[in-house]
Amino acid sequence: MKSINIRKLHVELYTTCKKIIIMSLAEVHSFFTIKYLSLYLDLINNKMSNQKYLALRVCFNTSTRFNIGYNLAVRQFAPTTDEHQAEQLSTILHEWSSGVLEEFGIKVMLDVLISTSDSRSNVKRTLDILIDAWWEWCISHLIYLALTEAFGTSIDPNNSKNVDTHCFFQKIKKVIEAVNKSEYLQGAFEETMLELLETYLKLLNSPQH
């Protein structure tokens, strides 16, 4: 079997995808006389490596198609200490995201009409004030926050506003973990599920948010 240079393949794939996206955006750009892009910006924290990533997605409509979306980047976000000291985080975020968008031929101030993100003040300031796009809080983030507050399921029990429910969910998590660890319990659970629901739904361990 021929050995493949994975890194080279990734670069070639990236370049091809980038070309397609740039062509698609240029075609749309010539069609619109106003700002036309919807921008999604998210800062993702990797709990395992403790690294931050900047995720950018754009969406737009054309005269024939709706909701065309491209994930432009999920890039490691690691500003230097000097950058941190010199600027506010929102300003650094603005520079980084503008850099990614410019790579794809997007002029931030001319093309971005609306934006969505979580409620972090830095990200909000970047989109609402620095990019000057019509900003709205992401509904999914909003609902997640409301559910966490209502059921007290934040990871840190001290932050929990509903202690009783927090304990109840901890108990359920332990039961699920115990079932998943034991082959006997898994078998018994599967049998009961099939008897009652005629289908087997796998119990998933709770993800760490």
Binding site: T33, I34, F66, N67, G69, L113, I114, W134, W135, E136, W137, C138, I139, S140, L142, I143, Y144, L145, A146, L147, E149, A150, F151, G152, K161, N162, D164, T165, F168, I172, L196, L197, E198
Partner: protein, 229 residues
């Protein structure tokens, strides 16, 4: 006891989670569905004066042996569910439904809703972007959908808000505030849409004018208007 609690919690969480899943759709236009689903949540699951519809997965198999009624009044729920339902309503109001509250949605509402010897008096007839704490983007996007242009859902959401009596400015009532807030938000949304439409229309109008000016009929019109002046 725990099984009852599980069913009640599930019945609370599932409809909220359904909105969350819908909102994450990538390739389809879902904003109107999400908007209506949020309104429906506000008037059903989150409203403690309404029955909570119980979602029981094994209902079909258990048939008549099922001991649970299909829905329960708030008072008949487990204390933990009652508490969680109250918290959920509060959290959703704090993060989303506050947008429709005539007082909480504004920066310095007292400067807008003044009073003149006990008579309601507006200090401003049209509010600017800086007067609002929220952007109303979802409402604006929904209003571009023709059956919702009149802002019926927006009016219903605003009318469903409860205003603390102490927050009501002198000379105003809850109803008059809600009515005025609808006018303000509706005006703000349509002004924003109008501004965008004007930018789109400007080059089209200019192009039409230039084309009309270059045709023989256009030349004639130009000469006529020049002679009138």
């Amino acid at each position: 006891m725990d099984r009852t609690l599980c069913i009640e919690f599930y019945s609370l969480i599932k409809p909220v989670q359904a909105v969350q899943i819908k909102a994450q759709a990538m390739q389809t236009f879902v904003i109107v569905n999400v908007y209506i689903m949020l309104y429906s949540l506000y008037t059903t699951v989150l409203d403690v004066s309404k029955l909570l519809e119980l979602i029981i997965l094994v209902r079909r198999q258990l048939g008549s042996k099922d001991p649970y009624p299909m829905s329960r009044s708030h008072d008949a729920l487990q204390p933990a569910t009652r508490e969680a339902r109250k918290f959920l309503g509060k959290a959703m109001s704090e993060h989303y439904f506050k947008w429709y509250h005539p007082i909480l949605a504004l920066h310095q509402p007292k400067k807008i809703y003044g009073n003149n010897l006990g008579q309601p008096m507006l200090q401003k007839n049209v509010l600017e972007e800086t007067n609002f704490k929220f952007s109303y983007l979802i409402d604006a996007q929904s209003m571009l959908y023709s059956p919702m242009t009149s802002g019926k859902i927006l009016a219903k959401l605003i009318n469903a808000t409860n205003i603390d009596r102490l927050d009501i400015p002198v000379g105003w009532t809850q109803e008059s505030l809600q009515k005025q807030h609808f006018v303000f938000v509706n005006q703000f949304i349509w002004n924003k849409i109008r501004c965008l439409a004007e930018i789109v229309a400007a080059p089209i109008v200019l192009k039409k004018q230039q084309t009309a000016g270059s045709t023989p009929l256009g030349d004639l019109r130009d000469r006529q208007s020049a002679s009138r002046h």
